[in-house]
Amino acid sequence: MYQITCPHCGPRAQTEFTYERTTDSVVDPAGDTHAAMQALYTRANPMGLDDEIWRHTYGCRAWMVLTRHRVTHEIRAVKAIGPEALP
């Protein structure tokens, strides 16, 4: 267990947060069916850094993007979610 620094609330216990999906797994409403299926049903799942969407569910409920390492659990960056955080 570790702490995640919420862009709005500061460092909080990880149990307050929930993981949703990676930023490259968001369905683009303007894209085609194949792209939507790829986004819904596949993941890069790297043994390294990935950009993940998390939510401060049991806190301020805001969404954010974590650049997190999946072996060391290091959190490289936390960004409040917004138009600039999504592809």
Binding site: M1, T18, Y19, Q38, L40, R43, N45, R70, V71, T72
Partner: protein, 419 residues
Amino acid sequence: MKTPYSAFSLLRGALNGQKHWEPAWRDPEPRASYDVIIIGGGGHGLATAYYLAKVHGIRNVAVLEKSWIGGGNVGRNTTLVRSNYRLPQLHNFFEFGLKLWHNLSDDLNYNVMFSPRGAMFLGHNDGDMIKLAERGDAMRCDGIDAELLTPKQIAKIEPLLDLSRGARFPIDGALIQWRAGTARHDAVAWGYARAADALGVDIIQKCEVTGFVKDGNRITGVETTRGRILAGRTGICVAGHSGHVAGLAGLRLPIESQTLQALVTEGVKPMVQSVIMSQSLHFYVSQSDKGGIVMGGDPDNWPSYARRGQPTIKEHAIAQAVTCMPALSRLRMLRTWSGVTDMSFDGSPIIGPSPIDGLYLNAGWCYGGFKATPASGWTYAHTLATGKPHELNAPFSLERFMTGATIDETSVGPFPNHR
């Protein structure tokens, strides 16, 4: 031919100080090429190699393991073996495996300590009982044993469960599969390794695959930490790390890796007779032959390859188990551990050809891979030998996610982190 494990061998050895035993498997140098390479020396990989050699006569086979045999998920599970699934694709597959389990020790000449002591799912309300009855009916329609129990019948098997109406989660009944049970996980890995080796399979440990040898859209071998090895067919069998290894070949799979934890208490006299599970709560408890109470629960619901889990998840599983069986609160925890699991997007495995020629997939076992070991090995061996899936693993293709034919036992949808 290796000396068989038998009372006669033991008696014969008594005359010469038991000096006639050989190592259970060789430690060969990798050859330049093989007919089939299996990446991953876990239970499934070793079982696949064994059935390739035994059933299909393909003995020019290598199993490549990055660390040591039995060090991955085959040594990290809670050793439960059952086939009580609701969906026919799943229960027919696991039932085929359960039949192999019942004869596995004889088949391998290795005591895997399979103990069919019964596995029960608890029901805590009317909705649970309806679901359990439906599941039991579905199983019996396919000739698999299932029996609904009343609380009185449960009390005879598990007197320590809190069956009072005042319980936090009252127990209204259970569905038991008597032929289900537990097995010794290490022995399964070692038994398959020894039997496969005896048939000529090369088990190569400390040999990590670092890339694939590609010729157009065909995989013709692997790059490893011990050099390049060519192969007619290559099978990935690394559940937990499937995303990583398939990624080396350029594939994106419907899999996310998560940590699953388990724990064991100090050894005590027999107090849990069967395997007790609750899907409404999500914990499972059994007692090992050494006396330790083995427990597990939910995976940590976020991606990780770290093999260490959050204490809160363990606490959750323990709290549920203690609520249902209060006597467990008196025990001390001895050990906890974690494994990395392939959480697939419908909760079911993937066994079959990949979009790349010469490359095959065995992945996505979620938290239920151990029980599948013989069936997974048998069907994957068939797939690798013939290039086509066995009828039992045909539904578990990779394409099903794109065609909509998912096999979603819990009807959750494409969410590996909500299972």
